[in-house]
């Protein structure tokens, strides 16, 4: 990567994901006729929306120099609780949505407070939170419960003029959080904190508050993703969120955001999500064995983080 940067002057960190996406789309479209099918492209967008929303939240946390491994289980908990409430009364959609978004934000708040107060490493803390939430989900139910309301299902699976509604939701969230991330005072602060927390503190930025806000955003968006997932599944399946946190992190890293913090872009993270979905879609269309797909997924994680490792510290 360093070589590429020197020889061509091309900034792979910024352009890499778009090059990868363009190559993947062009190669697939040329060689696999089913891929070009508009319905297939709509499927790809629909399949990307849950992970896309999670990746946007994860970008905030990673850019501020933290990480959040609890998002998959937050989404899982929301799937179960939302369907449990709505199975009783589908009319309660708005109430359930508000409650779940509050719940996700609260768990994010708890993560942030624990990191700030107890000075715990965010990996360890959110990893432990993942385990706790998984236990809580299984203690609530060990089987599918309830039913998502028709409204949620329509948002998750429906289309407007052939364009998936869930993708429209993703675009709206993306636009809003892109502005927050790249064009707001808070955004500048979070990049400053992620790049050099001590320097930011001296410059008068309230480091703890910025970190707290990032965890709350992550929890909030995890809950939103969970609601969408509930609509897609239609039922409160207890394991629905497992593994999503890793997929989200991989997407962020694929999007050129290093895990060290201080940089990032929500647009590129969503680009990373779409690239991952396309890879899975193409492997399915090419009839690659499921076992090989698992292996390939692991390799992609490893290669992505090696290619996008944080830059060497200047002495």
């Amino acid at each position: 990567m360093a070589v590429a940067r020197l020889s061509t002057g091309l900034d792979l960190e910024r352009a890499g994901i778009w090059l990868l996406l363009a190559t993947a789309v062009a190669a697939s479209a040329l060689t696999i006729p089913e891929f070009r099918d508009p319905a297939n492209l709509a499927n790809i967008l629909r399949q990307s929306s849950v992970l896309g929303i999670l990746a946007i939240g994860q970008t905030f946390v990673i850019a501020v120099g933290m990480i959040d491994l609890s998002v998959g289980m937050i989404a899982g908990l929301v799937v179960v609780l939302a369907c449990w409430i709505l199975g009783g009364d589908p009319e309660l959609t708005l109430v359930a949505v508000a409650l779940m978004l509050a719940l996700g934000s609260a768990i994010g708040l708890l993560n942030g407070l624990l990191v700030n107060r107890l000075k715990l490493h965010p990996l360890i803390l959110t990893f432990a939170m993942l385990s706790v939430l998984q236990g809580v989900i299984f203690t609530i139910t060990d089987r599918s419960v309830g039913r998502a309301s028709p409204t949620l299902q329509a948002i998750a699976n429906g289309s407007l003029l052939g364009f998936p509604l869930s993708a429209i939701l993703l675009l709206a969230v993306l636009a809003l959080f892109h502005v927050v991330f790249s064009h707001s005072r808070f955004g500048y602060h979070l990049i400053a904190v992620g790049g050099n927390a001590e320097g930011a503190r001296r410059a008068g930025v309230d480091v703890k508050r910025v970190r707290l806000a990032c965890f709350v955003i992550s929890g909030f968006l995890a809950a939103l993703a969970g609601l969408l997932l509930a609509g897609r599944l239609g039922t409160g399946y207890p394991l629905a969120g497992s593994g999503l946190e890793l997929d989200a992190i991989v997407a962020v890293v694929l999007g050129g955001t290093a895990l060290a913090g201080g940089r990032g872009s929500v647009l590129r993270s969503v680009g990373g999500v779409i690239a991952l979905t396309i890879i899975s879609n193409v492997l399915n269309l090419l009839e690659v064995s499921a076992f090989v797909q698992l292996f390939v997924k692991g390799l992609i994680v490893i290669v992505a983080i090696i290619v996008n490792q944080p830059p060497r510290e200047r002495p």
Partner: protein
């Protein structure tokens, strides 16, 4: 520290919530109603088409030997139909969202029929309905009977009947009295719910048999063994074990053996898991009640009929059979691994050994 206290309080609150969630009730009447539904006929004319056929298989998971054998039965049966040109398999690895995406991807590949086993029935009900609406018939293979509109026909195995046969045999071997424990698969699955329902129904006829503990071993030999080790500490006497799944029965039996209490206990029959069959052959007791992997083959047979517009029913039961310890030699394969199933698969279709 207040945060930690708050964390524990919320955990406790959630635990309290859990206690209010009651189990799904299964009973004999439901099983009979299911049989009646399974006997209804399906209008296959809307699916009739000429070959060649492309078969799509959406597996909820493939990392399990029973499922691998069922899939090999699908391939074997497909090879017996020259009009089937292609079998495409996807694996959702226990992730229902991926199974939805897999089925969407399969539909884009113009499959003519979809054979599936679910991670979770209700999670894929909608995408299955979309498949049927698009003219692709769907056949459920090997699970319990499903009456959703998204499932055209079932090659099903009744966990209820399996559970009942196992329970009746256990009662007979116990002589109708004693304390027993139940070792069930993953809590909440149809298998666990129906097996327990059947056991409780049989227990109603045997008031002198007491069910002292119900445990879930997740089809995992190591876990079943660990749970049993703890039960052996908790209960000074255990006269019988209800365990329809062979891979867990071996773990249970081993724990009794190591505690020196194998002589006191009566094991129920397990299924035709080869490791269990070896145990039965060695000890000459308990026997087996089959959970046939040929459900996969049955699903393909039904699928071909549907595509040819021939009449089928909503469900075809793949019946379980009792194998007495004396007859076990006809089924056990001492040279094969434990994680293996007695089947009639020809050698070229057996999984790699």
């Amino acid at each position: 520290m207040t945060m930690i206290r708050r964390l524990f309080l919320s955990v406790a609150a959630c635990a309290a919530l859990a206690i209010t969630a009651g189990p799904i009730q299964a009973d004999q009447a439901a099983d009979a109603a299911q049989e009646a539904k399974a006997a209804q006929s399906v209008d296959t004319s809307q699916f009739k088409k000429d070959g060649p056929y492309k078969v799509g298989v959406s597996a909820g998971y493939l990392s399990n030997s029973w499922v691998v054998f069922a899939l090999q039965h699908v391939r074997w049966e497909a090879s017996n139909h020259p009009e089937i040109t292609d079998v495409i398999v996807t694996d959702a690895a226990f992730n229902p969202a991926k199974q939805i995406a897999d089925i969407e991807d399969l539909l884009r590949q113009d499959i003519d029929i979809l054979i599936y086993w679910p991670v979770d029935d209700s999670a894929i009900a909608d995408v299955l309905k979309r498949a049927v609406d698009a003219g692709v018939p769907t056949i459920q293979a090997g699970g319990g009977f499903t009456d959703d509109p998204g499932t055209v026909s079932n090659a099903y195995i009744s966990q209820w009947q399996l559970g009942e046969m196992v329970a009746r045999q256990l009662m007979a071997d116990l002589g109708g009295k004693g304390k027993i424990i139940a070792m069930l698969p993953i809590a909440g699955t149809t298998a666990a719910v129906d097996q327990l329902g059947a056991l409780e129904a049989v227990l109603a006829d045997h008031p002198d048999v007491e069910l002292v503990s119900i445990e879930y071993g997740d089809w995992n030999r190591a876990k079943a063994k660990q749970i049993t080790e703890n039960l052996l500490q908790r209960f000074p006497t255990i006269d019988g074990v209800f365990s329809p799944a062979g891979q867990m029965s071996i773990g249970v039996a081993e724990a009794f053996d190591e505690a020196g209490r194998l002589e006191e206990v009566t094991m129920s029959p397990g299924d035709e898991y080869n490791g269990w069959l070896k145990w039965v052959a060695q000890h000459g007791k308990a026997g087996a009640v089959t959970f046939p992997t040929r459900a996969g083959q049955e699903a393909v047979k039904i699928g071909v009929k549907v595509l040819k517009g021939e009449p089928v029913t909503r469900g075809t039961a793949v019946p379980s059979e009792y194998i007495a310890p004396a007859d076990i030699d006809g089924y056990v394969d001492p040279a094969a691994p434990d994680d293996w199933w007695a089947s009639e698969l020809p050698p070229e279709f057996l999984p790699k050994q």
